[in-house]
């Protein structure tokens, strides 16, 4: 699974499937369950799907960049730099997750959504961003950088 283009394709497919599960199958019932002050569940669902979509795209693109970078001949010559690149990407994913949550919060400030629902939303965004990046790079990093991801 760490050979290209297999890792590229699996990552894109996995990101897509994950988005369908979270945004379509889980997102519908989740938006119905919310007690919204003014907006309809359909309006919230639209924003929710868009935010998860952006998270998924950023997560996938970051993984693909890591695979490309990990395959470069220059990378094997400087694994310290590779480690810095991985950690930078990982932290960037966490920041993206927080930023996307805040965008969704600002879009629905007047709706009075419970904190517990925002936590669930953050968990779903995280699933597409830093967790997705960690999981994919943990399993599918190119051989040269196979042992760089956290806990590997």
């Amino acid at each position: 699974m760490n050979k290209s283009p297999l890792n590229y394709l699996i990552t894109i497919a996995l990101g897509g499937v994950l988005w369908v599960i979270t945004a379509i199958f889980y997102g519908g019932p989740f938006s119905e369950s919310l007690m919204l002050a003014t907006a309809t569940p359909e309006q919230f669902l639209g924003n929710f799907r868009m935010i998860l979509g952006v998270a998924a795209v950023i997560g996938i693109v970051n993984c693909l960049y890591w695979y490309y970078y990990g395959n470069l001949d220059s990378t094997v010559g400087d694994l310290k730099k590779a480690k810095r690149v991985w950690w930078t990407s990982f932290i960037f994913q966490i920041i993206v997750a927080v930023a996307l949550l805040f965008i969704l919060v600002f879009m629905n400030l007047k709706e009075g959504i419970l904190t517990s629902d925002w936590i669930i939303t953050y968990a779903l965004i995280s699933l597409h961003t830093w967790f997705f990046f960690w999981l994919c790079t943990f399993v599918m990093s190119p051989r040269n950088v196979k042992f760089i991801p956290l806990f590997k």
């Binding site: 001949d73 220059s74 040269n144 950088v145």
Partner: protein, 525 residues
């Protein structure tokens, strides 16, 4: 299987054995080889270097379990059981002279006519000069004292013990020495005479048949050295004496019916300098020279013969260069014209791979071993060295700890000496085109401590791709070598950490050499 013997005579003999050992380490050698040296100068720098190299070779060979494709250290080098028996020093007492050896004072009293005859053959200086540092360019002295080796004690005992239950020509004995010095010039024709080895009663099997197939490489002048004007010695040989000594010796070989079946005459007209003059002892330590490599190839060609007639025809071999430059494809590797190119390719492949292996191991390999286990993220390392370094039970899986540390230290020492040897052949003249020492190490070489360039440095990362002098290559940098390390799929039977570590580096070196230098690794069998 026939037995192969190599007997080095004098300083040149020791240096040729040094080349043989390095070639065997690279994987270019017979399956088995018994070696010993004849030299009265036990403290001779060349001899000390060779003795130490053989000891290191044996340690490395004993310690290493190789993958099936890894040919290094495949030759089982045998030496006499005790280290002292490895060299026949001829004299048992320090301060021996020819006079004391033939009991000249006693002779003068009891057999005056014999003493008078001795005084005609030898000058007073020759009779009274101490010989523990060699025969100083006077082979006539050496031939007297070497004519009766003790076959009941080592090292000759090893050879004569092996003769039992052997067939005709089954023991291949190869002598190597110089024609122009003292010990070699005396020992070569002495041991080559029919009665000493070839038709010794233990070797003779009927009329003109022997268990010993006797070959030899007679090394003609090939180097010069700087004369030390401050020496207090009165009797010694200088480079100016070489041509006359050679002419006289060749005339002797032409006229005398010796016991050799085959002789290789090897020489060189480049006259490279190999260091400062030294009469003997530690001072006589010269830089390795490509002619010693060529002499080793002659020995291997001799051992390779499979079908030798019972009464072998006498053969003389010479080879010469087509230009003033020496390269891989000008090395005389075989008597058989149909296999010369293949053998040259094999030699080039093995020496290139060994050089890449030694260089990468001594730089990057050592650096990794000096790094904390947990901080290493290189794939080849993490995949092959899984252990908890806090667990005592797991420590034997750590290449930094014993039982792995000692073999790796032995390899470090051997590989340093290998690089010293192979790089020394590059004499800056631009005429010897094997390994380019300028891309390998910084400054002048010091034996055992070459200051190698860091292959991970941005400025010198391309050096590994340019090791072959005046040869085309892809100039792949060290990052490509690291990729090759990651690509190594190690044989599951290699379980000991030090074996894994060394085999990974060798296999990566073989893959890198094939890719960058276009040398054929499947050509090495």
């Amino acid at each position: 299987m026939p037995k192969n013997y190599l007997i080095g005579i004098g300083g040149t003999g020791a240096r040729v054995i040094e080349a043989v050992i390095n070639l065997c380490a690279a994987g270019y050698g017979p399956e088995e080889l018994s070696v010993f040296i004849v030299d009265p100068d036990a403290g001779n720098g060349n001899l000390t270097r060779t003795k130490s190299l053989i000891a290191d070779y044996k340690k490395c060979r004993d310690a290493l379990k190789r993958t099936p494709d890894n040919p290094i250290f495949k030759t089982d080098i045998k030496i006499p059981p005790d280290e002292k028996g490895f060299v026949w020093e001829i004299f048992t007492d320090k301060g021996s002279t020819l006079s004391s050896f033939i009991n000249y004072e006693n002779m003068k009293r009891k057999k005056k006519e014999l003493a008078d005859f001795a005084s005609v053959l030898f000058s007073n200086q020759e009779l009274d000069t101490q010989l523990n540092e060699g025969f100083r360019g006077h082979p006539s002295i050496g031939s007297v004292v070497m004519s009766n080796p003790d076959t009941e004690s080592y090292p000759f005992k090893m050879l004569f013990d092996d003769l039992a239950e052997r067939k005709i020509n089954d023991v291949k004995v190869f002598l190597v020495g110089s024609v122009f010095g003292g010990t070699g010039a005396a020992g070569f024709p002495t041991f080559g005479s029919k009665q000493i080895l070839k038709y010794h009663p233990a070797a003779k099997v009927g009329e003109n048949k022997s268990k010993i197939l006797l070959g030899g490489a007679l090394v003609l002048p090939y180097f010069t050295f700087e004369l030390d004007n401050e020496t207090s010695e009165k009797m010694f040989v200088t480079a100016n004496d070489f041509p006359l000594a050679t002419k006289a010796a060749l005339q002797y070989y032409n006229e005398k019916d010796l016991g050799f079946d085959e002789i290789y005459f090897i020489g060189d007209s480049l006259g490279q300098k190999v260091g400062k003059f030294g009469v003997g002892s530690k001072k006589q330590e010269n830089s390795p020279h490509y002619i010693e490599l060529v002499s080793s190839l002659a020995a291997f060609d001799f051992y390779r013969q499979e079908d030798t007639k019972e009464t072998a025809e006498k053969m003389l071999f010479t080879a010469s260069r087509e230009s003033t430059k020496i390269s891989w494809d000008s090395l005389p590797v075989s008597r058989d014209a149909t296999v010369i190119r293949k053998e040259q390719g094999k030699l080039k492949t093995l020496l290139t791979t060994m050089t890449v292996f030694a260089y990468s191991y001594l730089t990057f390999g050592k650096k990794i071993l000096a790094t904390n286990h947990r901080d290493i993220k290189d794939t080849w390392y993490v995949e092959n060295f899984k252990f908890n370094n806090k667990d005592q039970q797991d420590k034997e899986k750590d290449p930094r700890q014993n039982p792995n540390k000692d073999p790796l230290d032995d390899f470090e020492k051997f590989l340093n000496n290998f690089l010293f040897w192979i790089a020394s052949m590059d004499d800056d003249s631009g005429k010897v085109n094997f390994i380019d020492k300028k891309v390998l190490m910084n400054g002048e070489m010091e034996k055992g401590k070459p200051r190698l360039f860091d292959p991970e440095n941005d400025v010198t990362k391309n050096n590994i791709g340019q090791l072959l002098k005046n040869e085309k290559s892809k100039n792949e940098d060290f990052r490509i070598f690291k990729n090759k390390l990651n690509d190594v799929k190690l044989d599951k039977r290699i379980a000991i950490a030090s074996d894994k570590y060394l085999n990974i580096f060798y296999e990566a070196a073989a893959a890198y050499s094939k890719s960058n230098y276009n040398v054929e690794s499947n050509n090495t069998k």
